[in-house]
Symmetry: C2
Subunit: 329 residues, 2 copies
Amino acid sequence: MGSRGAAADGRVVWAIDLGGTNTKVGLVAADGRIVARGVLATRHERGGDAWCDEVVSALREAAGRCGVSEDAVEAMGVGAPGPLNAKEGVLTNPMPNLPGWQGYPICAALRARTGKPVFLDNDANCAGLAEHWAGAGRGVSDLIVLTLGTGIGSGVVAGGRLLHGAGGNAGELGHISINFRGPRCACGSRGCIELYACSSAVTSRYRRKLRKAGRPLTGSAAITAEGVFAAAEAGDEAAQETYREVGERLGMAIASMVHAFNPEMVVLAGGMAGAAKLLLGPVRRVVRERTYPEHHTGLRIEASELGEMAGLLGAARLALVAGQEGAAG
Amino acid sequence: MGSRGAAADGRVVWAIDLGGTNTKVGLVAADGRIVARGVLATRHERGGDAWCDEVVSALREAAGRCGVSEDAVEAMGVGAPGPLNAKEGVLTNPMPNLPGWQGYPICAALRARTGKPVFLDNDANCAGLAEHWAGAGRGVSDLIVLTLGTGIGSGVVAGGRLLHGAGGNAGELGHISINFRGPRCACGSRGCIELYACSSAVTSRYRRKLRKAGRPLTGSAAITAEGVFAAAEAGDEAAQETYREVGERLGMAIASMVHAFNPEMVVLAGGMAGAAKLLLGPVRRVVRERTYPEHHTGLRIEASELGEMAGLLGAARLALVAGQEGAAG
């Protein structure tokens, strides 16, 4: 592959998906093709600068491996855990994923090492960008992407543009409450949907059912959301009921979101999207029951098509769009 | 006033604020000045065409009175009860305000009578536009305007633009649920904030308190939200408690909205905004308690400055902006 042959228009960017455990890095072409990629252990305890050094050499190595000269790389995009300050390129409070990284100026640090413009957004917004660009939401101008995992994040595309809000923290849809007298949440509210539909909500709901039924909790400390999914697939009724109830709660929150944003599509993404098969039925039923016909007619609720590559692709898209708009961060 | 002297740049539009009882009409300059205005009884029972005839002659009369030639009027803007199809200029289902007007092609009917381009949006979106243009939210690019009255409507400005969603029905924030097991709503959901914080919620909550306290319900059928406000102002503790509780419920829904949109400002508008004095305290307290610091730091929650003129001004703004963008509906 020639140094200018990476994409039809020759544009390539470096993309980084920074997670608490692993960091994905890649070289991505303007048509959405991942030209090269790799995964590093994040090892956050050594701090941001050491991480930057390692990431930059992995990115250089990836470009070299594909015969792309460093000069041809236009920009860098980074997806990271929020909250963060995208405009200033700083991780403000990436807890609990990256303890000790509060206030780390990630964009400046990467720019100093590469000379490239660097663009930052939170990982859920990157997932939203990716689904809009190259996933289930291609061509959809009003789109909600929910990332279901240890928490619930989201990226909202409204009128074809990612919604940021006044401080860059719009789309915290995990903190839509469905019950103002419900359990207390870290955000200060009660009954946030994150508490009813994250992965630990699946396991604790399942454990309660086992206990109630007098079934043994053998190894229950190790029960995971994936394990409950596997049990449901194998015919375990308590596990099936667990996912149905979680899907119904999620549907109730999505009904509020649908009244707020009137999207054309809602995409279930993130680690728990693998259970979409069990979640989509109850989610769709409850959303249909709990919204006006003007809001649910034509609304599609689907599972992500991009899987674990969504964050990396979204980070790339961030850099490609910003480059096109001429806004260098 | 000369025919071209209505505004600095000479641009004037006709504006219409169609309500179930009254219709406000006006001639508005590009700087937000209402050059002339009037009010007609809507009398919806005679149908849309008769209403159009009367409105158009009132608008012509207003222009003539100010010495503005009809040719100088650039366009018309209409705010009307939703749901409606703004793109096609049709009132789809304006119930219960305008029974019998379902499907009425209001834009085509007005255009046929005047030859002007006509722009339509729902009344809450018009209130949002007006507050953004000339009210409490001047210069604020991320803004939520809630119209509190017999129902709760809203207009959401995100990144400086009114949010419409896929079908033009975004911003139905009255149907953010705060309680998934709460009372049934017309939208199909349960526990929508509209049920806890509209004017009839104020009166029924107050009546329950009177009954519980063994106080006489004399004339209670005629109790209005304004009456409860007056009682609260006069020192009636049950009335004060009523507004405090309604404000707290409203704050709980606004906390969800703030996580979703991360606005810089929330404006309480509509008929009940007169009680903002009693509502703002509990609303602000609950929103501060129930959102992340990133979301509530710097957030302003204020009462509308425009009062009953918001709808008319927003309709004018609709026509002025559309005219500038060259998009004629």
